[in-house]
Amino acid sequence: MLTILRQILQRIGMSLLVLWGVSVLIFAIARVIPGNPARVALGPNATAEQVDALARMLHLDRSIFIQYGFWLRDLLRGDLGRSLYTNRPVTQDIAEFLPATLELITVAAVLMIVVGLPLGILAARYRGRWPDHLVRVLSLLTVSAPSFVWAVVLMLCFAYFLPIFPIAGRLSEAFDIPRTTGFLSIDTLLAGNLAAFADAAHHIVLPAIALSLSGIGQAARLTRANMIETYDKPYIEMAQAYGFPDGRIARIYAFRPSLIPSLTIIGLDIAALLGNAFLVEAVFGWPGLSRYGVQVILRKDLNAIVGTVLIIAAMFLIVNIIVDILTVLLNPRIRHGEARP
């Protein structure tokens, strides 16, 4: 047990190192720009003194290493600087927009697992027959278009031509929910407003589906591939020789060993949702971090860019660590110290 703890701590340590590397990378990229960021922020009408004052405030007159030093010091104090776009501390911006994105990603991740994995099991169990072919084609199709295409298609089909779902936004304007956590699913319940909860759920359906579609396809294909390999294993032949029910073999005895190799990649896919959220948020007008990120990138808002990317990278790494922990928990070989993760 101790070895596992040590391995996980090592992993966390490594992730912190990587995160630091990311910070350096993004910092460097963000500062290697033509032109004067202070000038860009203030616009062409600002006077030279104003630009210089802002430049000094942003430490732009010092060497890049010193700039990084300032930034790192601030970071460790929890200060990511001010956004020139919203004129607020970046941390505040992130706190406002992150929950929306997290909610969207969570629902999408759940969809990926709840829909994608069973489809993969189905395809493997009926290998070579029509359920298999159907799942293969559908999953390949969903992976072949960017999320914004699906977002557009879904919106047209289910919000316009068939007005079942709302077209954009997170919550109907009619509702006014006090903001506690920023997570509508929690806040609406805290406010005791079930109608608002239902409304928020209604709003999240299409964006979440659009975001998760390619992830579902990936998860289905991966599960199918791993399960097909597992089906060739001797212990499955034994299960069949003993007449274990086919369904149980598929869902339990073939699925569990297949899950372990899939876990890493599914984790990566869930983390990739972070990147794709940009596109879906744009189409559905979802007020999340990704949309904020695009705005600040377009405006070359340095502090905000670095802060946003850092948070996203951190979430990425956290998902990876969770995946590692799950791998350890699910694989009895590792739990009992037989193999390394």
């Binding site: 212990y235 003993y242 009895p332």
Partner: protein
Amino acid sequence: MTALLDIRDLRLSFRLWSGTVEVLHGISLSIARGERVALVGESGSGKSVTARIVLGLIQELRGARVSGQVSLDGQDLARVSPKARHALRGTDMSMIFQDPTSSLNPVFPILTQFREVLARATPGISLDSARDRATSALHEVAIYEADRVLASYPFQLSGGMNQRVMIAMALANRPKLLIADEPGTALDVTVQAQTLDLMRALVASHGTAVLFISHNLGVVREFADRTYVIYRGRIVEHGPTAAVFGNPRHAYTRALMAAQPRLTGGPLPEITERDPAFDAPAEVHS
């Protein structure tokens, strides 16, 4: 006396991209109640597929064509519904495999797998009953720390231990027929000998018939009452083990016996790949 297992003129072919390949060319074999019968041959002779056809596993593969008669306890298995046939697996018929450790699911503890096996004969068996029955089954194969073994994963147990677990599982539902596919081949020789002794004692006391598939003549000689020799999908010789071993008549059988390495030294004789003499008609010892 009606045979327990009666196979008549069994043929198996596979339809592949390159054409049709015939694997079994009319096998006939019978096993009486409580009898121990061996099916001996090289790799690729068709002995393993024969076993799997009895269980009904091959018929589920695409491209497999099976004809001929396979009867268990008087019932023609081709005529019963697939559901009824499926019901026989794990209850009236069971199987043990070559490599015990890889034949057990690596991510589930032994008890879980045992319980699933017991559920075949006693559907919905409770965890406690399963534990009790598994424990007594393990006692029968001389495993006395049953609690520890049941809580373990296959990779935590030795090969010999896993082999005994498999035997216990196979006999737990008191099947009429046990199919043993090269049991113990993956184990080292002494362990193999011990487990075979154990198996022989158990099937004798339960009255279980055994179809023993092997390429290891020494083991067969110790274990089986009657022996069938299979070569390229055909039975070339069969009869009481003592007779077949003592007086092999068919050219192939003789070549097979001669190919055994001897403790006393001498070169390792070879069996030529194909010899027209091997295609001679079958020899039967009464």
